[in-house]
Amino acid sequence: MAATLNLSGLTDSDPGLNDQSASSRSSNRSLRIAERDRRKNEAEDPFALALKYFSDVEAGTPVIGNDQFENNLVLVETVAYSKGLPPEGISIMLEFAMSLRMGNSPCVRVLKCLIPATVVPQEAVVRAVVWLCVGKIPISSQVLFIKWVLTVFDLIDAKDQLRAIYGFIFNFVTEENLCPFICHLLYLLTRKESVQIFRVRKLLELQSKLGRQPFLLYLLSLYRVFCPELVTLSIPSRMRSGFRNHNSPWKSALIAVQKKNGSQVSPTISLPFMTNSRKRKHRHLEIPKLCSVVNKPAQTEPSFSRKVVPFMQLNSFTELLENLHRIELPAQMGSLLASSMALHYLDCVQDESALLRLNFWLGYTLHEEFLFNSDGGASQDLDEAQQFLNKLLFTQDFLQEGFSATEAFLYKFLRVWDGSLLRPQILSLLSNIPVVPSLKIGRLLFEPLMQLFFTSSVFFKCGLIECLNNMLSKWLSWHTVYALEDDLDISLNSHTSINMTLSEFKDSVMELVHFVGRLASVGLQLESYHSLLLSFILDFYETVCDTFVKYELPLIVMPPAGVFYPALFATEPVSVDRLAYIMYRYKVNLTSAKLDIKQKMKASHISRQTFYEFNHYKAIMVNCLWNSKMSEPDMGLQLKEELLCKSNIPEYWKSFDLINHPAFMSCAIDFHRKCWPRKRNVDLNSIKLSRPWTWYLQYLYSQGYNGLKQFVSSM
């Protein structure tokens, strides 16, 4: 039976059919007819008989007590849930259901089992929409039908006729219960030609009636992209993530059928609704095939005034360049992610409708896959999810900007994240988010991150600090690229249209730096000054100390005491050396900032407090490491003299100079041995004399402590 049902196997087994798109449909059909004839001969096939029953059954046949009907329907349901229905079966059953030949109750039951094995014939959907227009169907069944269409949308073999009846479908928006689903369907079908002034008016009218519903806003925002002159409405930059039409019963059944069919499933179809990201990835690499089915009719359609070239027909970069102005996007935007050519297109054309639709697709997919699991995450295939997110990361790296859909998704995901699921991917995605306005940054980002940071292991803490470091350097790079010189206004991330003034941007950066400062101080304390964590924190401050010189941002923030002192008193010389380097860079930045102020006669961007803090830290470092003076009156750390005496450490004030510092003592002893190999007892104080001291410094520098070298020579 499997052989007879597997209609798609026939169409796909011959690659020529798919490639020669002009002839594929007709031959497809003739093949189907041949198949049908063959099936007629196989009278013993019960499934074919069942389908025949449903196509022939007369209107008004009673349902109750009708064993024949019951048996046939059970048979169809079994096949549907196990293998999925062939296209022909879908047509017959949909026609049966929507014509209400046996009333409403079988209609609902049939709709629920319409799981396609391969594709859904467009004609069937169009006929069903016609039945919808007849208006006999109860509203709940209508909703069910539209939901079904949305679920299988990407399996519909062509969309041209559906687009042709756009107006009919649009009429249903006035039906309040149907409106959200119809808007979603329209969103998927809309083209520039479909945007008409009367439709915009209708939608605006609905909006004033129903309020600012996200589904209306989404459709309107797409309309606005196509025809900005018709839609003058202001649309919020952050919107509810897409249409919330979860169709989980079909979805899970579809996944099950697709998984079971495995290789049988036509490789030309990829489902954005499916969990199967591996399939998604591979299928996307085969966009040409997919599009040849979807877009082919558009070319032959006479009503089209402009000639469009579907993406699938482009095979080389030169072809892309030649057709850049008349490219038609694939029906399924997700497929763009996997095509390098599509990425080039997105990058250079900056097609707003493409990005809008891609964002929409992405928002929907991320939401469905990661926030709305049918069983709490048990079925989620981690490998596939990982690959999908890696693909997304690659795309974002390529385009050098984050999608707003990813951003919105992350804000929600962080709130329910356990801190370990897909950690590398989530942290990388997080480091890609565009600048967050300082008013919102606390609630959106800092609150969930704090809760995760303080309750997680030291490795998570390191990962998060690294992620925030990457985030900061990306923000700063954006600033250098996008900052307009004249009015100091920057327009970040052109597609999300977030415009920021320089002072707003500075506020956001400052918030971020202060936030990491807080995390770092407390984190170090909680993890008892873990050297790995300290190293990541110093990485962060290496970015922070160079904001003025490297990124031309007039903002310098000093590290808090909770970071400075642990680094200064660290037991590993690397940390002290890096702190010295950071202090040296701060000095370079502050000096050039001061010069800048003098030259341009501008008011100081850098507050006096920063200069004061820097001088204060510098004095402490020089006193500790160089002058062997521990406590100065203004050091901030105050310890009573008697208390220090009580510790019984001889000459405690010398404890943190370059010789006695716990980090450098081994160097000092080593140096002592090399300098005076014959001396039996080690007297470190002898290094303090002026000549050995110079030699000792040379020795330290030769060990690679360049930070110290730069720090000392700049003082």
Binding site: R212, P214, L217, P236, S237, R238, M239, R240, S241, H246, S248, F370, L371, F372, N373, S374, D375, G376, G377, A378, L382, A408, Y411, K412, R415, V416, W417, D418, G419, S420, L421, R443, L444, E447, P448, M450, Q451, F454, T455, S456, S457, V522, Q525, L526, S528
Partner: protein, 194 residues
């Protein structure tokens, strides 16, 4: 060993603190109405080799009154809430009343499972957040279906447990609970009109 652990926890504030803490015995009380996840979590916690964790399981509070006198002081009480079940939430909410108020100074923590499930009404998640925010407690989300998720939950619980039991220098449980306390997020979904 039992005696030792009892001694350690009851005199935690005393001067034997430093000496006894080297024993690293922690007392953890898990409360879960459904009694599904707490067993696997307890196994993961006990397997942790660096410390000895004495895990006690309960369906709800109050625990039976027998052995009340010999019961040690608990370092951390963890309420496990399965978000897909209303009963689970209600039971945890009811159990909270029986907890001595001293525990709310940083010795209570909430653990939520199934937060990413389609069948969770947004209101319930909000209610749990409000509950945790009200008591200034940390709220952890857990992937209870995977082994990695359980292991990571155990690891995070230990992080909190160590602080709650006073094993981390300079830090107190109250400090930790203020740092990691749950907050009620703004509704990101609402379109902003600014």
């Amino acid at each position: 060993n039992r005696f030792k652990s009892f001694f350690c926890s009851s005199s935690r504030a005393g001067c034997y603190h430093q000496v006894l803490c080297s024993l690293s015995v922690f007392l953890l009380q898990l409360v879960e109405n459904e009694e599904q996840f707490q067993q696997s979590l307890a196994d993961a916690l006990v397997e942790e080799s660096s410390v000895i964790v004495n895990v006690r399981l309960a369906k709800s509070l109050p625990v039976p009154t027998e052995n009340e006198t010999s019961r040690p002081r608990i370092d951390l009480v963890v309420f496990i809430i399965n978000l897909t079940s209303e009963l689970s939430f209600e039971s945890a909410e009811a159990s909270l009343k029986y907890l001595d108020c001293g525990y709310f100074l940083g010795k209570v923590c909430f653990l939520v499972t199934n937060a990413r499930s389609v069948s969770v009404p947004a209101e319930r998640l909000d209610a749990v957040r409000k509950l945790a925010a009200l008591f200034h407690c940390p709220l952890l989300f857990v992937e209870d279906q995977t082994a990695d998720g359980v292991a990571s939950a155990a690891e995070r619980l230990l992080t909190i447990l160590k602080v709650a039991a006073g094993h981390v220098p300079i830090t107190t449980s109250l400090y930790m609970s203020i740092l990691a306390q749950c907050t009620v997020p703004p509704d990101i979904d609402q379109p902003s009109f600014d």
